[in-house]
Symmetry: C2
Subunit: 90 residues, 2 copies
């Protein structure tokens, strides 16, 4: 059994209006930062996975994303897996 660290990014689909992003964009402009725009806000989730290999770790995380972590109607997600080396403390 190996331990992998998964970084998951969940973002609203492009076609869907991001009201939170729009609010942040307006706030940035009020703070005199007109050079920043087109703000989109999503979630970043990090978790540890116990699995025999990378494929099954990826399958487990994919399953969790579909069932709980994202709303497949409105959101997309991407997964990045990294093996945790034994020498580094969590």
């Amino acid at each position: 059994m190996k331990t992998y660290t998964a970084s998951i990014t969940v973002t609203l689909r492009r076609a869907i209006l991001d009201v939170q992003g729009k609010a942040v964009e307006n706030a940035l402009h009020s703070l005199h930062m007109p050079a920043l725009g087109n703000v989109r806000i999503g979630k970043h989730i990090e978790l540890d996975v116990q699995a025999p290999d990378r494929e099954s770790a990826n399958d487990l995380v994919m399953d969790a994303c579909k069932k709980l972590l994202s709303n497949p109607v409105m959101e997309d997600f991407s997964i990045h897996l990294e093996e945790k080396s034994a020498g580094v403390p969590a």
Copy 2:
């Protein structure tokens, strides 16, 4: 003036209890996924920056992170910048 796309990840510092992550972890375990644990939840922010070069783009985004997008007492952030190529529509 060039356009850069910045991906910002804002995460709670390790020392701070992540109650949202804990709730998600419990939910995953209830869904029969005991292999997943140590869940931490953060924010993912994407935005476009107009700047003459990469350094000033990075400075602008860093400034926005410190002033608005993150809480420097409790959160860390990382910035990833990519130049937008003119041929690709936004």
